[in-house]
Subunit: 253 residues, 2 copies
Amino acid sequence: MLGKNKIKFIRSLENKKQRAESGLFLAEGNKLVADILPFFECELLVAQSSWMATQGDIKAKELLAVDEEDIKKASLLKTPQDVIAVFVQPANHLDKELLKNELTLILDGIQDPGNLGTIIRLADWFGIKNLICSPDTADVYNPKTVQASMGGIAHVKVFYESLPDLLDEWQDIPVYGTFLDGKTIYQEKLASTGFIVMGNEGKGIRPALAKRITNRLYIPNFPPGTESTESLNVAVATAVICAEFRRQQIYAV
Amino acid sequence: MLGKNKIKFIRSLENKKQRAESGLFLAEGNKLVADILPFFECELLVAQSSWMATQGDIKAKELLAVDEEDIKKASLLKTPQDVIAVFVQPANHLDKELLKNELTLILDGIQDPGNLGTIIRLADWFGIKNLICSPDTADVYNPKTVQASMGGIAHVKVFYESLPDLLDEWQDIPVYGTFLDGKTIYQEKLASTGFIVMGNEGKGIRPALAKRITNRLYIPNFPPGTESTESLNVAVATAVICAEFRRQQIYAV
C-alpha cells in the first residue's frame, strides 16, 4: 500500500523545480527501470512483486512492493507498467580535454522533451558519449525525456552550458551544423572528431551560434533539387547525420 | 464566438470512431493548416482574424473568425495556436501497378501516433509517395499523427491493408526489413524500387511478415560490433534506412 505522501512525492517529480531542488528524477516502465537501475543511485523503488521477482538483488534505499492500483495512482503514464523508480541525478563532470578526440552533439534550444530523449537514445546507438545543450533546451530529467531515451540516459552524459562560450574555447575543431544552403552530407568529408550542432525545432540554429559553424551541412531530400517547404524532425535529422558520420568513418573507402 | 456544439464537434474528432463515422479529421496550427489547406476539402475553419489576414482566399465550407479564448476551448493542443481546421478525409486509391517502380514503406503495427506522423514527414522528405500500414497501425487521422506529419499528410498517401496478403501479390520485388542479424545497410546493394518494412516499436516485424522479407538489413551501431541491448526509435531507424536508399541511388558510384 502506497501512502498519499509517497504518491504526491513521486508525482511532484514531473515538475522541473521539484527535480532541481531535490536532485532526483523519475523513471517508469519494466524494461527502462531494469536497464538503468545499475547505473544510478535509487532513492525509492515501488513495484509489483511480480516485477521484483524478475530482478536479481535490487539496490534501492527504499523498496516497496505495491499493487496495480497503487502504481496507477503514482504513475504519470497513460498506460502504467509494473514499476516506478526515483533516482538521484548524477554529478557529471564535463572533461573538455576528451572532447578533442570525439564526436560531440550540441543542442541549441531543443524544446520538446520527447525529441531530446530520442536524441539521447540515438547518441547512445552511434557511440556519442557527450551531449551539450543550451540552458534553454528541454530538461534531461523530464520524465518524458527519460522515457524516450530508453536507457540511453545511463550511457550518454548531458550537460547544459553557454554554447557560444563553449565554442569560443575551441578554435581548431570542426563545428558542423545543418542549413538549407549547406553542402550535402554525402559530398562533405566528415571528420571523426568535432561538434555537431542541431538547432531548435522551429527556428534552427540561432545566429550567435550559426556564425561559429565551420562546416555547413545539408541532408538532401529526394528527388535531389526538389523545392520543399518541408523539413525533417530534429531527432530524425540528427540520426541521419550521425549515421553518415559513422558510415564515412567505418565503411567509406 | 464559438458555440458549444461547434466546440464539442471539433473536440469529438480526437476520437477514432467519430473520425471514421464522419469521414473528417482535425488539423491545428498556423503553419500546418496553411500548408495543407490547398490539398484537402475544408469543412470548417475557425481562426483568429490575424491569421486569416496572412492567408489569401480561404476555401472552406464554413469559415469562422473567433478569439483566442474560443480557440483555447476547442483546441486539443497544450499550446493552442491561431487556427483549427476540420478536413474531409480524401478517398485515396492504391494503384498497385505503380508500386513496381517505386520505393514504398510498409508499417507493421506502429503503435505511437507521433511515430507514424514523423514517418509520414520523413517519407515526404525522401520522396516516398505511398505508405502501407497493417490494420492495427495507428490511425493516420489521429490529431497527433497529423501534427507530427507537419504537412507530409498532404503529399504521402497512407493505406491500411493486410500486409501478408499484399506481399503475396508481389513475388518479384525486393522486400527489405531490419533485423539484428541482418546485413549492414552499407554493405548491401539497395535497390531504387521495392518495399521497406518497419516493425512495431517493441516487437519488431511479426513472424507472418518476417518470412516474406527477402533482404534482411541492419543499421550498424558504433563502435561496430559493440553488443547493445538498446535499439533505435522506429521513426529514427526508418529515416536512416530511407536516407541510405537514396544515397546509394544518387551518390554512390
